[in-house]
Amino acid sequence: MNRPLALHLVVIAALAAAFFVLPDYHSGNLARIMVLAVYAMGYNLAFGYTGLLSLGHALFFAAGMYGLALSMQHLSLTAIPALMVALIASALVAGITGALALRTRGVAFMIVTLMFAQAGYLTALYFVQYTRGDEGFVLPQAVRQIAGVDLSSAMGRYFAALILFSVTLLIIGALVRAPFGRTLIAIRENEARATMLGYDVQRRKWLALVASGTISGMAGAAYALLFGYAGASFAAVPYSIFPLLYVLLGGAGTTLGPLVGAVFMFYLIDLSSGVTDAYMLVAGVVLVLLTLFLPQGLLGTLRKRWVPWLP
């Protein structure tokens, strides 16, 4: 077995064990962090591997979230079919957004994706009779179950999050080592050169963005299902910035960077808010220091200095 796969399996096993070791408060946090990490892993595929700096991934997160929550709430679907709706909705939204936004690059791409996400946010507000806008709506506990497992229970929620996280990690781990993934990295490194080797760069960027948006959408769907709430605030700008922060902190273009970044950011805010009301100031200073001294993120720096095989 290769080392990256072994490392991924160890991380998954450690997360499974953590549920039984950690106090309830922290395992509850970890369930949320794993879902956010999946979101960031989707983002990382576009930004970290393909070099597409999107500022609009909240659109895909929300497409998955609303795909699931609206179809459960208004069409009375059960969890599995609703997850399928979420999958299709986020893939479709990412496909259309990608086809248009990928006509631009660099700063223009950032702005276009940001605008698309804002349009998505305003759409959620516009259809307030279905979405309840910013206030959002709650998914009743009775419907939040798969095959009799109660996803609102601490254990059901934790292991559902872990399964989603593990599947995503293993898929991405395999993808970035496969020829397709290597090509995405090549596009990030030097788009003109990749084109002049005969790669259809435009098509591959689109495929990467669709995969990225779909993974992010599944995170959004899981968030609604596991925590029982869907609201337009998840479609707003901060939710486009969070995955970027997680990925930058953890290490762009590393498979485990999104998890590390999400854990770090979550506990940075959690711990500093216990000390002072000005916790955002503390978080801000730490982020500035990290970007100054570890510009490649925690795992990116680790890989560069000590562990070159880190996936």
């Binding site: 020829p179 290597r182 090509t183 990295i185 090549a186 490194e189 030097n190 003109a192 050169r193 990749a194 084109t195 002049m196 080797l197 005969g198 790669y199 259809d200 760069v201």
Partner: protein, 235 residues
């Protein structure tokens, strides 16, 4: 005469009213090593840019292997069997030397054996695990040539490949180029020793137009060429 693998008819490029290339008719027989020379600003890079699709044509046609490829995007032209090396070194700086060659070989249907073979052929086998961006300038140029070779192209376009190379590396390059079988080569080059020793035939561009074409000896004797180019460059 051998089959013509590449031809252009009336190929023209205008940049905001400035004619970079004007009505170039060009025929390249299969298997030939053709040098494309001319003073700076003669339109050489523009010309090859239009051949491989990096630069959109203003008017005219590019025909590769009997097929009009004028409307094809660059990546599709490459998959037909054209390889291109950039004038300004362009490798995947953050990836290993091996990965650079593998990316080139894979798209062209090459396997691991071809990657190893190419690395040895260009003398980078012992640096295969180094990051391409950490290589010396000369080695990066050689890596880029290796990426072209790994594609096993039918037509290999090289834009000033020996620029900045050491003497010994230039000599190795000449051997490499003349030893290629089944590959037609179009070489933009300023180094006259490379041109005279490797090229079967030479095309001279001046001010965006074909000034002269002929064997190295004929070009050396051509007075118009000497006036436009060699006279000043060799002085």
């Amino acid at each position: 005469m051998a089959t013509v693998i590449l031809e252009t008819r009336g190929l023209t490029k205008t940049y905001a009213g400035v004619q970079a290339n004007t009505d170039i008719d060009f025929d390249l027989p299969e298997g030939q090593i053709r040098a494309l020379i001319g003073p700076n600003g003669a339109g050489k890079t523009t010309f090859v840019g239009m051949l491989c699709g990096r630069i959109p044509v203003t008017r005219g046609k590019v025909i590769f292997d009997g097929r009009d490829i004028s409307g094809l995007p660059a990546h599709k032209r490459i998959t037909l069997g054209i390889a291109y090396t950039f004038q300004i070194t362009s490798v995947f700086a953050g990836l290993s030397v091996h990965e650079n060659i593998a990316l080139a070989a894979r798209r062209a249907g090459g396997n691991a054996a071809r990657v190893t073979e190419t690395l040895e052929r260009v003398g980078l086998a012992d640096r295969a695990d180094q990051t391409a961006g950490d290589l010396s300038y000369g080695h990066q140029r050689i890596l880029e040539i290796g990426m072209g070779l790994a594609q096993s192209p039918r037509l290999f376009i090289l834009d000033e490949p020996t620029q900045g190379l050491a003497e010994s590396e230039v000599a190795a390059f000449k051997t490499l180029i003349t030893g290629l079988k089944n590959t037609t080569i179009l070489l933009i080059e300023h180094n006259m020793s490379v041109v005279m020793e490797t090229a079967d035939y030479i095309t001279v561009l001046d001010q965006g137009m074909t000034l002269a074409e002929g064997t190295p000896d004929a070009i050396r004797a051509n007075r118009a060429v000497r006036a436009a180019y060699l006279g000043t460059a060799d002085a």
